[in-house]
């Protein structure tokens, strides 16, 4: 029997004190927002379709299957195999240069790798099941549906996994069988984890791609949010998070009423379907609107991505043959060199760059005479790594598509490198597009990254230190850091 009574205070949950992230939220004043659901006729109807995500995933699953097959049984020549050309030239550029800045984590909605895990948990491709499951869900879920360990509920595993994977990047991006084995392996792990753990546990904590998507989606010009947070506050069901007969509870365990950044929203659009108040908006917004880095794991993801962009620029685009030989030890057999290369890569990503950045943030706090804790200053300014890193990655990827993109048409007709000519494009000659002008585009991209970083550094300083003078003083060292990073990339690309 349940009895309704008046107000009372309940004591629960005694846990050791823990730092609460980087202190008060740093958020930009509410700037321009345009609800694309209202602006584009039919868009909301489309996302409300129960088959919406299936329709996005299915074509990718077919291509993914062909890519895995090609990796294992196709030609080992990288530029003639669809596994290499489609993944490391086409997909990579579209992901980092188009989907992320213009579509946030929309890739996560169409990614084929969690397909089998999703099906196992839901036993449905399209329909919704109502029932009860742990975590407050009002949907019936299959599998063990366990909660991921608290100690691992961050992106450290993604950080180390991604860095480990990228240490072998030369093998990964040149050998089809390695690419296929890694992608296939990730799919198997995603499926197995989905059998044991709740919903998109793999995507949130393990997937190596998800880590940088999470970080860089903060810059995206779109966001999925509640249209009116008061409506969410008054909502008596919170169906976006718990699910109902119209939609699955958020697979990423997000409560839309309080969501204030893109990082962990996979844009599956289930909340659009399940919201009983029709209160979800897909907003167009200014570039780099989210500015809150919540923990060291996210900050270190920024360092790792920046260090990797530098390393790849040297290895893959630079003239230094020695470093290339070190990175390509499986072919050159120079394992001592590979050890040195790995040590430099891991050391710079995990220790040197963060230590350098700490020095600059310490100086910023000192110059601004700030009284806020150092941790808060460090994590707040760590946001600068996001625009700097993303634009550096886009600049790095420009030659991939304009120079090596010429391989796409031939492999489209001959995906396995077996001499087929399915669409009559197998013999299209390799012809790079404007190779002599690409460096200007790269520099322009880097300069835009620097501009955004400087603008944000000032805004962050203002929030941290409270006055224009202090923010300007804080901007000096952070500006020097950002400028140094930009100049380093310019020297890699133009040197």
């Amino acid at each position: 029997m349940v009895e309704q009574t008046g107000e009372r205070t309940t004591r629960v949950g005694v846990r050791p004190p823990k730092s609460s992230g980087n202190g008060p939220a740093i958020s930009e004043p509410k700037a321009f927002r345009l609800d694309l659901f209202k602006a584009i006729p039919g868009l909301k109807w489309l996302t409300k379709l129960r088959s919406f995500q299936f329709l996005l995933m299915m074509p990718n699953l077919v291509v993914f299957y062909i890519i895995i097959m090609a990796g294992f049984i196709g030609t080992p020549v990288g530029n003639k195999n669809i596994a290499i050309v489609f993944i490391w030239i086409l997909w990579w550029f579209v992901l980092i240069g188009v989907l992320l800045p213009f579509g946030s984590r929309v890739w996560c909605a169409m990614c084929p790798m969690p397909f089998f895990g999703d099906w196992f948990q839901r036993r449905a491709l399209i329909k919704v099941r109502t029932g009860k499951a742990a975590g407050g869900l009002k949907n019936k879920m299959f599998g063990q549906h366990r909660k991921w360990p608290k100690a691992l509920s961050n992106i450290w595993l993604q950080n180390f996994g991604f860095l480990a994977m990228c240490t072998f990047s030369v093998q990964l991006v040149t050998r089809p069988i390695v690419t296929a084995a890694v992608l296939g392996g990730i799919t198997v792990i995603a499926t197995l984890l989905a059998m044991v753990y709740r919903q998109r546990t793999f995507c949130t904590y393990i997937c190596p791609v998800s880590g940088f998507l999470s970080l860089y989606s903060m810059t995206s010009v779109v966001e999925l949010r509640s249209a009116d947070s008061d409506v969410c506050l008054k909502c008596k069901t919170k169906s976006c998070r718990t699910g109902n007969e119209d939609g699955w509870g958020c697979p990423w365990f997000i409560y839309m009423g309080k969501l204030d950044r893109n990082n962990y929203c996979g844009l599956c659009m289930e909340c659009v379907k399940s919201c009983p108040n029709d209160n979800i908006a897909l907003n167009l917004r200014p570039f780099a609107s989210d500015v809150k880095i919540k923990g060291y794991d996210e900050a270190w993801k920024g360092f790792i991505m920046l260090a990797l962009a530098m390393a790849y620029s040297v290895i893959l685009l630079g003239p230094n043959g020695q470093v290339k030989d070190w990175a390509n030890a499986t072919e050159t057999g120079y394992w001592a060199g590979f050890g040195i290369y790995s040590l430099i890569l891991w050391g710079s990503a995990l220790v040197v760059l963060p230590a350098l950045f700490f020095g600059f943030t310490w100086l910023a706090r000192r110059l601004a005479a700030g009284v806020v804790p150092m941790k808060q200053v460090f994590l707040s300014y760590a946001y600068l790594l996001v625009p700097l890193g993303l634009l550096a990655w886009i600049a790095f990827s420009v030659p991939l598509i304009f120079v090596n993109g010429a391989y796409i048409l031939p492999v489209l007709s001959d995906p396995f490198g077996w001499g087929w000519d399915l669409f009559g494009t197998a013999q299209v000659a390799w012809s790079p597009v404007w190779p002599e002008y690409l460096v200007f585009a790269q520099i322009a991209l880097l300069m835009y990254g620097l501009y955004v970083a400087l603008r944000k550094a000032y805004a962050i300083g203002l929030t941290l230190f409270g006055s224009n003078t202090a923010a300007t003083r804080g901007l000096v060292p952070m500006g020097v850091f950002s400028l140094a990073i930009t100049l380093a990339f310019i020297s890699f690309f133009a040197g």
Binding site: T9, R11, G13, K236, K238, R241, T242, K258, L259
Partner: protein, 68 residues
Amino acid sequence: MIKIESRRTIFCEVCKQDIKVEETEEGTLIVHCPNCSGECMICDCHLVKTCFTDAEKIMVRHPSNGKE
């Protein structure tokens, strides 16, 4: 008998403050922590075990109900 209040708070032992708790129509408790940003997968809240759980379960654990 389990007592469930329509409006109440929970005392956070770490933050030393009363936090508002809401119960949905379907009997799910939701903690309205001022630091909540809706990202339950990486939630650091000290009351995380209470949030999005069945109201009855929490009340059964409460000492005033005479049960653990």
